[in-house]
Amino acid sequence: MPTPVSPFNYEAAVQACARGERFALQALYEREARWLLGVALRIVRDRERAEDVLHDGFLQVWQHASTYQPNLGSARGWIYTIVRHRALKEIRDPGRMQAMDPRDLTTLSDLQQAAEAEDRGLDIDRLERCLQRLDAARRACLVNAFVEGYTHEQIAARLSAPPGTVKSWIRRSLVSLKECMT
């Protein structure tokens, strides 16, 4: 399968934000908002809070655009980390934990398939290949942590495994993922 090439220049857009060009932030928003909202919603599980996360995330992108260093990595990866970390902060702030509405679970899992069809210029082949080399339980740890925003303890509860084991699985999986993808 040919590697899809994204024509949108994320790095240039973030650098334009650093110069104070607001249309560049809008271009990033128009391109990524619905995907990022999907990522945030999956973690915070509440539509309104997910929009708050995206608001704060985009504001952070704007405010810290001048600190982004294109030689270190992609601007899209940088933006996703900002939004994911903002979402994680939202659910992990003491006193803000919220039980999930059981209906949300079905909605979320119904939607899940749609995401994979669209070509967004993401190179997922190599990641997929390297993930397949991990055993299923360890792979699930990584995916659950990334997608659902679960902690070691939450994953451990789901897998009925000790948190220490989950932690070392995740760390070893990351090390072998890095070896495989480098």
């Binding site: 999907g38 608001h55 655009a65 940088w78 993401l122 990334f146 890095k178």
Partner: protein
């Protein structure tokens, strides 16, 4: 406790940082380490890109129409990391500070400079800061605004509003070239006004003079800005492009 000395521990910890599985305490320790460790920052960026593909597991959700408006209005008033750095540069490099803290003194200096340069029969003490044709009229100015680039913090234009309602926009520094097919548009917005009003297109290096009688009037702290727009100006009657120069009036 996190270990950032050993190579594979470093990689795993950076991966966990991106993933979001570090404890709050380890996360905070890691963030502090990042500030001093460029190689660790590179490791984090590499992880961001390695794990980015996992985001395909979250289905897209269309944001409400309101969300962009909220972001855009927050951005308009937000202070950026660059401005925070700028705030640490020596005060004499910062026109913004002159405008904010001692805008009046700045304006007074400009007027004085202009008057000295313009005084008939006396040698100009200050080399022409403002082009000569303009200087003769500054004596009657009621408001002055120094427009500076939000990026370089250098002053590029002066706006002068006279008691008679005449308004002049005068270039005070070379500002380079506007991209082909684009124009610079001049706008003003009084404090509390809902939207900026266009004052027309501006040519690089050329003064613009107009009468402001059709405006609700000029007040202290009134915003003037030059934005980059399509060749024939903004098609929607409000700024659409980046701000090239911006400043607020001070009363004289």
């Amino acid at each position: 406790m996190i270990n950032l000395q050993d190579g594979s521990d470093r990689a795993a910890t950076a991966g966990e940082f991106v993933l979001g599985t570090l404890s709050a305490e380890d996360h905070a320790t890691f963030v502090r380490a990042l500030a001093q460790d460029p190689a660790l920052r590179a490791e984090v960026h590499a992880w961001q890109d390695r794990l980015l593909g996992l985001s395909v597991n979250a289905a897209p959700v269309t944001p409400s129409l309101e969300l962009w408006r909220r972001i855009d209005s927050s951005v308009a008033t937000a202070r950026t990391a660059r401005e925070d750095r700028a705030a640490r540069v020596p005060w004499w490099h910062r026109v913004r500070l002159w405008q904010g803290v001692s805008g009046l003194a700045m304006a007074a200096c400009l007027v004085l400079a202009v008057r000295l340069a313009a005084s008939p029969g006396e040698p100009a003490l200050v080399p022409a800061l403002v082009p000569a044709p303009v200087s003769a009229s500054v004596g009657g100015a009621r408001y002055l605004a120094v427009l500076q680039s939000p990026d370089s913090l250098t002053a590029g234009w002066v706006v002068e509003v006279q008691a008679s309602g005449r308004l002049r926009l005068v270039p005070i520094a070379p500002i380079g070239v506007i991209p082909a097919g684009r124009s610079m548009q001049f706008w003003t917005k009084a404090p509390g006004a809902a939207a900026p009003t266009s004052l027309g297109l501006v040519r690089v290096g050329r003064s613009l003079e107009l009468t402001v009688t059709h405006l609700p009037g000029v007040t202290p702290q009134q915003l003037f800005e030059l934005t980059l727009e399509p060749e024939n100006g903004s098609p929607v009657g409000r700024p659409t492009g980046p701000i090239l120069y911006v400043g607020r009036t001070v009363a004289l």
